[in-house]
């Protein structure tokens, strides 16, 4: 049983954590793609920016959370989401909008977003330094160790406070996004514009408003993902940048432009990563006596070493695209 708990800690929980973060990130990437038809590479750094805003606000008002009994970073999250949304809209106005007005090809937009990535990352480094910082400035990170009430089980199921918040916020974001896209007129207008921009405009939909709304959504979601990731580990200026590739893999696996696909893709990539680096030998340990010798002797039965974790999303990406070229869900438009 200890082995099973170990599996829960290292695969079920770790996979859900990675999956949630990839999912929220991929939804943002996919929304931007469906409306503006370009791959937004600066998304990772919008996530970092959101987390940085939380760090800044928490450092300024470290005691704010104690009054309500919630960690301060979480109180600051809505404010950071608003600021990140503002940044996203500002970046669009300053860099992407003029390019769109010139009618440039999508690849130019992609390269521009790569420029924005480097710029944002430089700015964050300038103010936050290059080292890691804990977002828990004046709070303590709760770690829950749940002992399994079974005989002989010594290893507890470990789950941290930020992980619980992550799961809760992921669920809330996904449900809220679903209702927004399917029920509200603005959400429907977004779907219309992703389907047929000239017709949307000829139907009286203000495409500038829709673009701004898309950036607000993407910015807000990026702040959630960045902050919760930084709460779970620590804040680093390049943290989200390294998430960028798996997030793109998740968006593509799910079907580009398809928000529900992005969520599914996020979890597929997250679990694929953790399953691939998990040492399966541990699960075989209880049956050691009945196994052939060559298998029982094997020390590490992980598919790939932890250092090759980044390979996994791309293997999954290629495999899924071969099997289903438009992604898990039929991609392209919302």
């Amino acid at each position: 049983m200890n082995e099973l708990v170990f599996f829960i800690n290292n695969v079920v929980i770790a996979g859900s954590v990675a999956g949630s973060i990839y999912a929220i990130g991929a939804v943002g990437v996919t929304l931007i793609f469906s409306i503006m038809r370009f791959a937004h590479f600066a998304h990772g750094d919008m996530m970092t920016f959101g987390a940085f805003m939380v760090l800044l606000l928490t450092t300024l008002f470290p005691g704010a959370g104690n009054a309500i009994g919630v960690p301060t970073p979480l109180i600051m999250l809505p404010l950071a989401m608003a600021l990140t949304a503002l940044l996203a809209v500002g970046i669009d106005r300053a860099f992407y909008k003029p390019l769109r007005a010139h009618g440039v090809k999508p690849i130019v937009m992609v390269i521009a977003s790569l420029g924005v990535t480097l710029m944002l990352q430089g700015l964050i480094r300038l103010f936050a330094g290059t080292g890691g910082e804990s977002l828990y400035v004046d709070d303590r990170k709760e770690i829950f160790r749940l002992t399994v009430p079974l005989e002989g089980v010594r290893v507890p199921v470990v789950i941290t406070e930020p992980q619980l918040y992550l799961f809760a916020l992921t669920l809330i974001s996904v449900v809220a996004l679903h209702f927004f896209l399917s029920r509200s007129r603005l959400g429907k207008a977004m779907r219309a514009m992703s389907d047929n921009p000239p017709l949307a405009q000829a139907s009286g939909i203000n495409t500038n408003t829709i673009v701004a709304v898309t950036w607000v959504l993407a910015g807000g979601l990026a702040a959630i993902a960045g902050t919760l990731l930084s709460l779970d580990v620590t804040f680093k200026p390049d943290l989200s940048f390294f998430l960028l590739l798996p997030i793109f893999a998740a968006a593509i696996v799910g079907g580009v432009g398809h928000p529900y696909g992005a969520i599914a893709g996020g979890f597929v990539v997250g679990f694929a990563e953790t399953l691939a680096v998990f040492n399966w030998g541990i699960l075989l340990r209880p049956f050691r006596d009945s196994l052939p010798e060559w298998l029982a002797q094997a020390g590490n039965l992980a598919f790939v070493g932890t250092e090759y974790k980044i390979v996994v999303p791309f293997f999954i990406l290629v495999a899924i695209l071969v099997w289903r070229p438009t992604g898990l869900f039929k991609g392209k438009v919302i």
Binding site: F180, R183, S184, R185, L186, G187, K188, A189, R191, A192, D195, N196, P198, L199, A200, Q201, A202, S203, G204, I205, N206, T207, V213, V333
Partner: protein, 256 residues
């Protein structure tokens, strides 16, 4: 009658190619005006400029007494200037009914806050829009396919849907870009009937680009002939058909 659309000395070039060449024309309020001309005469370009889909190089366009030069399409829509597309556009993964329901402008649900703060009002408006969309879909005879995805409709049905779109709001002027192209004869009769009814009963002004001379003859008076980016002649269909200049523009000069 007065001119509801007034195009004044409009020029437009794509690279070195001058497509619209000092073009001036008026569309009378309440009329169904035809716009014809050989391929490459600049009809669609002029349409796109009038509908706000293309910027013009120089000149002025007035709509209902107001300067609308280079206004974006969505603003023109809210002023009552609507257009259909030469190649039928539709929201392919919404149903035919939902396509129509996308159209009506200026509703509470369009504001981000109203969606969350005034759900009752948004729902009432939504019901009202649905009622109107159902009326329109009956009118254009697509009731039986109202719950099909618009992407799966036939080319002719998509054209009818285009016309239906213009009926979801109180339009003043509708620009029809080759609405008859690719539509079979029976359906075409319906289309022409619907356009006449909208003109008579709801006071729509139409500007119609068409290659189908039969349809022009049945529907349009006056007819404007565009050639090489500017107006060549304007008059009734009978005058146009007997004009030697027009015949030359369409069939080439007899000497050549």
């Amino acid at each position: 009658m007065s001119a509801i659309i007034d195009v004044r000395h409009v020029n437009k070039a794509f690279g070195g190619l001058r497509v619209i060449n000092d073009c001036s024309l008026q569309v009378e309020e309440g009329a169904i005006t035809g716009l014809i001309g050989p391929n490459g005469a600049g009809k669609s370009t002029l349409f796109n400029i009038m509908a706000g889909a293309l910027p013009l190089d120089s000149g002025e366009i007035r709509f209902d007494g107001e300067d609308i030069t280079n206004r974006p399409a969505d603003q023109l829509f809210h002023r009552g200037l609507l257009r259909t597309f030469q190649i039928a556009h539709e929201f392919s993964n919404l149903t035919a009914l939902e396509n129509l329901m996308m159209v009506p402008p200026r509703q509470a649900g369009e504001s981000l806050f109203a969606t969350w703060l005034k759900p009752g009002q948004v729902r009432r408006e939504e019901d009202e829009v649905r009622r109107r969309a159902l009326e329109v879909i009956d009118f254009i005879g697509l009731h039986h396919v109202r719950n099909e995805l618009a992407g799966n409709l036939s080319g002719g049905q998509k054209k009818l849907l285009e016309l239906g779109r213009t009926m979801m709001t109180d339009a003043k002027v509708v620009l029809l870009d080759e609405i008859a192209a690719g539509v079979n004869r029976t359906l075409l009769g319906d289309l022409i009937g619907n356009i006449e009814r909208l003109n008579r009963e709801m006071g729509y002004t139409f500007l119609v680009i068409e290659h189908d001379m039969e349809m022009i003859a049945r529907l349009c008076d006056p007819v404007i002939v565009l050639a090489q980016g500017s107006v060549m002649v304007e008059g009734s269909i009978a005058e146009i058909q007997n004009n030697p200049e027009v015949i030359e523009a369409y069939f080439g000069s007899p000497a050549a």
